[in-house]
Amino acid sequence: MNTIALLGMPNTGKSTLFNQLTGSHAQIGNWPGLTVDLMQAQLRIEGQTLQLVDLPGIYDLRGHSEDEAVVRRFLEATPVNLVLVVLNASQLDRQLRLALQVQQLQLPAVVVLNMADEARRFGVSIDSEALSRQLGLPVVLMSAKYGRGLAAVQQAVRQRLLTSSSNDLRLEPAPVPVPVQQLEARLAAREAELEPAQAALLEAAVQLPAQWRDRWTRRLDAVLLHPLLGLPLFFAAMALIFQLIYAIGVPIQEGLGALLDAIGKQLIQPLLTPLPTFLQGFLLEGLWQGLGTVAAFLPVIALFFLAMGVVEDSGYLSRAAYLMDAFMERLGLDGRSFVLSLMGFGCNVPAILGTRVMRDRGLRLLSMLVIPFSLCSARLNVFLFMAAAFFPARQGALVIFGLYLMSFVAAVLTALVFKGRFPSSEPLVLELPPYRLPTLPQVLSRAWAEVKHFWFWSRRFIIFGVVAVWLLNNLPLGVEPASSLSLSGRLGTLLAPVLDPIGINPNLTVALLFGFIAKEIVLGGLAVIYGQADPVALGQAIAADVSWPQAVSFMLFTLLYTPCLSTVAVIRSESKQLGFTALSVGWSLLLAWLTSLVFFQGVRLLG
């Protein structure tokens, strides 16, 4: 199939353009020779089906980062019919280099100057025709964020695919594409030409403003990056956002849960009546309820990514990296680790994948060790439920706040303990983009992509998990579900010597065991164990069985031990080290057990 690749620096709106071109029907694709997944989507142009691939954002085709190596390997392995080079129009003073490198490789290309609106606002004027003439490549100005210029890009792509790279007017079929040969050698040989060529292009086609014009960014930074006000403002903003997510998300989740439950009872149950009882139970209480738990959970995840998308697109997230870097540096981490940990509060998996931007192995591993302590929304789900069941509203809120604090303390402690083992010397140079107003379609499509990613990663583990919970509770055949004679009851008894000292009884043990697969299953598991599907009744049943110190100990353990199998899997695949994965799991279990022990025994001693 014909392939178009999107290539560009970070922060150029490449992914926005990708979504605009494809209508965000993207999927994750595996490419030969690449260890990472790339987003790709099919595109129909002039009756031809093409695939559009979104390559990772890179600064330099000869760069040393993993992303840059990925792009090189891609170009060397895949014949591309067209490269869409996306540049930030307001930063042509440094970004034209990348287009020149593509030109040096003689790849068929179209240059897209994105963020044309911003360039105009900052006083950068571009003569795209002159640029196109000098560069020998079609140049299109656009603003992907607002969808302006999209038609022109599509037109240029169409034309470029139909004609050969020569400039004559005869319509020849494009040459059959071949993978790039000797990429690095060819670029190295002509490296010295880049600088003068870029200067000549700028001279011929771009007028830069004499003075920086973005007064808004200047004024906002004076407050938001203020040495004293900066951090308190940032944490206040985050607290507000999290409040907002619960205030909207939790009722939606409850409503959706009730709806799915009703569908199960009213629609699916009658359909299943001809089946044997065991199979009925398996399908309805195991599979349907499990899927329902996960599905009901999606709105909160979506809201989180929506909110974080707004913060990120506004440019504030990079400021967070600036504000926190001095502190993180003392933990052996950097500002990016902080931002990733923050993303981890939604879901740990994309946060761990995000460590790919780090080149230094020590820094990357230490970040991967710290991120799983971020209180992700799956765990929050368990805590909100438990807090409501055991404490009055105000105390419950305090417990949740305490757990957030604990999450932070665990991350800091972990970094301090392990920074000696994973030393790093990675330079930190990041762009601070101007503040921008995020647009709704852009933020929505990003959140949608994240939710899909979450679903992709979690569903197999979660479905496997809920089914396993159900089976363990109902086997051997004929036992009272979840009783001490069932497989899960026996497991609980077996682990009692370890978990008794921290106040985890056999019932809770089973829930924790399955929480290892995914925290989304914990509540569903408890529902099966206590035989109560209704949340209020379930809360009462647990409260009757367990004291509040036991409940808090359970929450602490849930917070600190391995988040889920998806996280373990992604740590394994990203670190490519079984030993490190074992360390991550082992350390989190040890920390969880010790913390719960100190808390539970402490409360007992005190009274």
Binding site: Y59, G63, L225, S318, D334, L432
Partner: protein
Amino acid sequence: MRTDRPLTDLRPGATAVVASLTADPGLRQRLEALGLRPGQPVQMLRRGWWSGPLHVRVGMTELMMRRRDAACVALAA
């Protein structure tokens, strides 16, 4: 002529011209890609507290960089 001074010495609000980069090839490449090339004027916008990162502007790009890395950027006197 005075000797070159590092970017870390630049006071907030001041502007100077990059003279040379003494970074290792990886960092050098990244700095150049971000616009910090010899001959380019660079302005110090602010310096983080507690030896925090620097906030600088070069060309049309604003950057944050750690002082250790900024020390590799020599400014023309």
